[in-house]
Amino acid sequence: MTKTTGIQWQAVVNGKAREIEVPPSRRLLDILREDLDLTGTKISCEIGRCGACMVLIDGEPMNSCLMMAYQCAGSEITTIEGLHGETAEELHPIQEAFLEEGGFQCGYCTPGMIISTKALLDRIPQPGEQEIKEGLCGNLCRCTGYGGIMRAVESAADKCAYRSLPSPVVGP
């Protein structure tokens, strides 16, 4: 096998400028999990169907299993590790809501769910039931049956509105 020549891939990941050499077609999912050791982004279907690998790219939710290095070079990427409350030690109100309402069980879909919820609430701060379902329709969960997730998103919307936190809070 011939070695593919790499590109100098640069991006701002969770507020930090990162630069590594990778083949241009390397998946963002692998860059995050393997090169940058950010394993909060999960791997499950690898075809853009389950949402376990969801991250924000310039604020938009994207499946990192479908995104290649050259496509996201130069962007601002937020993974679950970059989401937190007012200080880095605090939880984001969405994370808080998932904890309180039982929005997860095994937790494997949770980072992706929370990222999609973040994108949803940034767009629609007080979503109705149908809007929540649309916002999360790209994320599968096998454990919760989505009941806890629905409650968590509803409560997160209230919390975000109540605290009127500036969104997104991206840490160092």
Binding site: I80, C106, P111, L136
Partner: protein
């Protein structure tokens, strides 16, 4: 009690493992890496049934970056695994029996090289006839898939004379039900990290439902002492029964030992589909008769289960289906025969509900058909025929008496969903059920079903339990069990139990699970048994433990023993007047007591077994959980699309220790059952999967979720019940399918017999309601 956050009070606790999960900090075992780690890949069979004529791995071995290649020749011990019957080759020698069969595996410095190396392995096959239909497998001319033939297991239950009785029944319903090859579809696919340690041991980080069982099986494959292997098995990104059997462990272990380096395995989704277990597809034929008053008389059942290429838990699953295909009803004549048949399809094994789902779908379907035939309300019909608390169990065995059945039946009858059904039970009112604002081709219906579900492994199967309670060096009350956390919330359930017992805080507690080096052998997390087992274990350990630490506190302080009690951070002195506490004073911390410990002074172990029926009925259960489910659906008769609108689950399982976990299990089980009913089927053609990933294998998404799902827990148990809370991991998934199909019947007039529901069956011109399906 209607379970929700408001009604749960302090028991509604944030999960102990929650913060790590919502922040993404948690390292699952498939997230782990190690210095100098290699990547493992498995070469699987190209054919569902073939002889291996030759196998050449030299090109792969010589490829740059490949560190180890293994075939069956590299298996030092028993080249077989299987939780009950070890008949699955770790690496096939001469024959492949399904598309997931492993032939070789490689470890290389990158995943890409490992994948490429697989393509360099030359295998010559002689293709053989593929058996995809169990009925074909039973023919004399069929090739034998195993030396003993193509029958894995048979069951039989007979009392009375069902054949004769059926002839004398006023009404008989005969139907054949079939159910799909459902996939567990846990979000985390199988994988893990395998590390050869400098001291000659092997550490296995790989999810399982029973670390000790894995350790035993890996040791058997490696021909090692079990103690040389350490299995770390939690946390797990979902299992539902699918990770109870070994999956990547044989390859990871063998590759790590051959290469002398850590090896990481992580199945792709396609590989997970190809190699992983599925729910047994079953065909269940039922002939059920009643007298002219609607009393059940006779039941004749024939079950054929497609167990696929290897045994795994096919036999116990068939036992369970056999036990559960007669429902919680009274019968005079019973005749059940089951057969579990090997084919060249994917391997069927353990799956939440364990064969109950298939059997209950059929049994409850019969009940609805019979009720309709005689013109009775389906719930009244069930009431009339229900078993009484003193009746023996389904297999005529002694069972533990509770009022659970009666209670769930009453609760369902009073639910608002069923009340709505009652108001409209007249067929001519079906249209009325539909929302006035919706178009005429949208039809609504409501159905209900009942389940009596056994917990534990059943009579005749070793079902050990136990646990350890100690005061650890850090001054925490430490509970250790060999159970696993695969998402069900066990850790929090344990935490709540410990807080209840010792009135301490969560900081005073340490919970150790999922590590064979640190926990005693206390059985597996399976068969809805962990909650009951942990509760029983702690009941046994509580007194000796308390005595020891309170005695020590007394020795250290001189305060009278009877005034000492455990509490927040340590021991408190409590003075009572007429049983009410009048004062509470701080005495000494757990840490100070721990510092005084001599050896294992504060460590207590217990060993016992899951309660079983005294009657010698193989597989027969002693403890049962009861549930009733009602479902409302909407059917679009132009597209055949079925939408679940509203669901009510009531479960009699004793005290809901962990309400958040309880609701989660019922909701999750319910939606998993929704998939089983409407969309999920791992379709195979000629032994190959047609549905290879989540784009064609359709599990429910949030859009498919019903708007309302009510969970009502019936928390009573008989006074002084010695078994405590019953498990609920499976019961949410077993009775929804028949409730939905009953609702479809009411909405459209169609009786569904095959799952997942075929849409084309439900398409009909608007406004037409046809009577069909019942054969007297």
């Amino acid at each position: 009690m209607l379970l929700n956050r408001q009604n749960s009070g302090e028991r509604w606790r944030k999960r102990r493992d929650g913060k790590e999960k919502v922040t993404g900090e948690l390292r699952y075992l498939t997230d782990m890496t190690a210095e100098g780690m290699l990547y493992g890949r498995v070469l699987r069979s190209s054919h569902p049934h073939a002889r291996i004529l030759s196998l050449d791995t030299s090109a792969a071995e010589n490829h740059e970056g490949v560190v180890a290649v293994i075939t069956h020749r590299d298996v030092p011990g028993l080249n077989r695994f299987g939780i009950a019957v070890p008949d699955q080759p770790a690496l096939c020698e001469d024959t492949v029996r399904y598309i997931g069969d492993a032939i070789a595996a490689v470890a290389a410095i990158t995943p890409e090289i490992a994948a490429y190396a697989l393509s360099l392995i030359r295998v010559e096959y002689e293709v053989m006839e593929t058996i995809t239909d169990p009925m074909r497998a039973l023919e004399d001319t069929a090739p034998r898939l195993h030396p003993q033939g193509n029958v894995l297991h048979r069951t039989q239950v007979k009392h009375g004379d069902a054949a004769r009785a059926l002839q004398n029944c006023a009404y008989v319903v005969k139907e054949i039900y079939s159910t799909p090859r459902q996939m567990h579809a846990y979000m985390e696919t199988e994988g893990g990290l395998f590390i050869p340690e400098p001291d000659g041991r092997l550490t296995v980080y790989a999810p399982t439902q029973h670390g000790y069982k894995d350790r035993m099986q890996i040791a058997r494959i490696l021909d090692w002492e079990e103690e040389r292997i350490r299995v770390i098995s939690s946390p797990i990104g979902g299992s539902f029964g699918g990770k109870d059997e070994l999956n990547v462990q044989p390859y990871g272990s063998l590759l790590a030992l051959k290469s002398g380096r850590p090896v990481k395995m992580h199945n792709s989704r396609m590989e997970s589909v190809r190699a992983g277990l599925k729910r047994h597809p079953m065909k269940i034929e039922m002939e059920t008769g009643m007298d002219e008053h609607g009393r059940l008389k006779a039941h004749r059942v024939r079950i054929v289960a497609d167990t696929g290429a290897y045994a795994t838990l096919g036999a116990p699953v068939l036992n369970f289906a056999t036990e559960h295909c007669m429902g919680p009803y009274r019968w005079e004549h019973m005749d059940v025969e089951g057969i579990s048949v090997y084919t060249n399809n994917g391997v069927s094994g353990e799956f939440r509900g364990f064969g109950g789902n298939q059997a209950i779908f059929a049994m409850e379907g019969q009940m609805d058909r019979l009720a309709e035939l005689i013109g009775m309300d389906p719930w009244e019909f069930r009431m009339l025929n229900r078993r009484y608390p003193d009746d023996p169990g389904p297999l005529q065995q002694e069972i533990w008496r509770t009022n659970g059945l009666e209670q769930v039946m009453q609760a369902l009858a009073q639910s608002s969903l069923w009340q709505r059904r009652r108001a409209m039970s007249d067929p001519s009112a079906y249209d009325f059920l539909s929302d006035a604002s919706s178009p005429p081709w949208i039809k609504r219906g409501i159905g209900a079903a009942l389940a009596m579900h056994g917990a534990g492994l059943g009579y005749g199967i070793d079902d050990p339990a136990g646990g350890r309670l100690s005061l650890n060096a850090a001054g925490q009350i430490e509970a250790a069990f060999s159970y696993e956390e695969f998402g069900q919330g066990l850790i929090t359930t344990l935490e709540i139990m410990l807080m209840d017992l010792f009135h301490c805080t969560s900081e005073d507690i340490s919970i150790v699970i999922g590590d064979t080096d640190r926990v005693p052998h206390s059985g597996s997390s399976t068969a809805s048994r962990s909650t009951t087992m942990a509760w029983m274990g702690l009941q046994r350990l509580k007194n000796p433990f308390l005595q020891a630490i309170l005695q020590k506190a007394h020795d250290m302080t001189g305060i009278p023993l009877e005034q000492l009690t455990t509490g927040e951070q340590g021991i408190w002195q409590v003075t009572l007047e007429d049983d009410t506490e009048v004062s509470r004073e701080w005495v000494i911390s757990y840490r100070e007591i721990a510092a005084e410990a001599q050896g294992n002074e504060f460590t207590f172990d217990t060993k016992f077994s899951y309660p079983t029926t005294p009657d010698e009925v193989v597989g027969g259960h002693f403890l049962y959980t009861y549930a009733a489910v009602a479902a409302e659906v909407e059917v679009n008769t132009l597209s055949g699309h079925v939408r679940l609108l509203d669901t009510y689950h009531t479960v009699a399982a004793g005290p809901a220790i962990n309400p958040m976990g309880f609701i989660g299990q019922i909701e999750g089980g319910s939606v998993m059952a929704l998939g089983f009913t409407l969309t999920e089927d791992a379709v195979m053609e000629e032994g190959h999967y047609m549905t290879r990933n989540m784009d064609t294998y359709m599990i429910p998404g949030i859009q498919d979720m019903h708007t309302s799902l009510e969970v009502e827990a019936i928390e009573d148990l008989p006074e002084n019940d010695p078994f405590g809370p019953r498990g609920i991991g499976e019961i949410g998934s077993v009775a929804l399918a028949p409730a939905i199909t009953a609702a479809i019947r009411q909405a459209t007039g169609t009786w569904v017999t095959q799952l997942p529901v075929a849409r084309d069956q439900l398409i009909r011109p608007a406004g037409v309601w046809q009577q069909e399906g019942v054969r007297p």
